[in-house]
Symmetry: C2
Subunit: 141 residues, 2 copies
DNA sequence: TATTGTTATACTCTATAACTATA
DNA sequence: TATAGTTATAGAGTATAACAATA
């Protein structure tokens, strides 16, 4: 029976490589990984900055600059809902959708290249399990 | 058919939580996650600093301070092999083994708590697939 | 000439706390 | 009094390049 390995140690090289892939894919459109992550979240549904910070496990003060940048590029809009004038609802623009799709295509291509030696069945199984576990953690948070 | 999700997005929350677990477990023994990672690697086999940097995907200049710290705590030793007096062979001490085991126990306990809602079969399958994929990446590097 | 480990430096990222305007 | 967003600042983490000793 082999010794139990730390879970992080068996994920570290993979997530570092994936992080690099996302950084580069986002940088090709003048974005950071975090800005791309915001874009991806608000494409699914508009959200205010506090909700985004919670969901991303990110701090709200850092989000300010990221959303400034996204807004400056015309990829999202800040809208103040009349029901609570303290908050901003972040909404994606059509240009934002295009940019996000372009970045995602780069990411998926690079993922395919990175995992070219992993059999598709292994890979799909892994992705499914990872999604289940992570979604479970999000539901708890 | 649901849209393909970025692999990083389904791993991110998990790896961030695991990173926090390792940071805290290592900090309880005055170490960083990186220093713990070095300790774990040299327990398996002594290695020089360049090899460690490559294996950890870390830079060799940062390793200098980390190994200084580990050496200062008496957890590893630098030994100059007569065959190549430029390099240091980093060897773990018995105190280093004890510290590493103690930190790992904390990590495994915290992992169990984090993943308490994940069925053991799911978890084992996930860990096995992750290890296979990561080991494959290491073999390529 | 190349490599190992080291040092110095600048830069980016991140955490903390305080502030404003609304509620 | 509490919350959403913002601003300012200090600190940690990281990348780059240059250096000495050895090969």
């Amino acid at each position: 029976m082999p010794r139990r390995r730390d879970l992080l140690s068996v994920l570290f090289a993979l997530t570092r490589a994936l992080r690099r892939i996302e950084d580069e894919a986002a940088a090709a459109d003048q974005l950071t990984m975090w800005q791309y992550a915001v874009l991806a979240l608000v494409e699914d549904a508009p959200a205010n900055q506090t909700a985004l910070a919670t969901r991303l496990d990110y701090s709200k003060n850092r989000l300010v600059h990221d959303i400034d940048h996204l807004e400056h590029l015309g990829l999202v809009r800040r809208e103040v809902p009349p029901t609570d004038r303290r908050s901003n609802t972040i909404t994606i623009t059509s240009r934002g959708r295009q940019t996000r799709a372009r970045i995602q295509r780069r990411i998926h291509d690079a993922e395919d290249e990175l995992l070219r030696d992993v059999p598709p069945s292994t890979r799909n199984q892994f992705a499914q399990l990872a999604a289940d576990i992570t979604d479970g953690l999000h539901r708890r948070a």
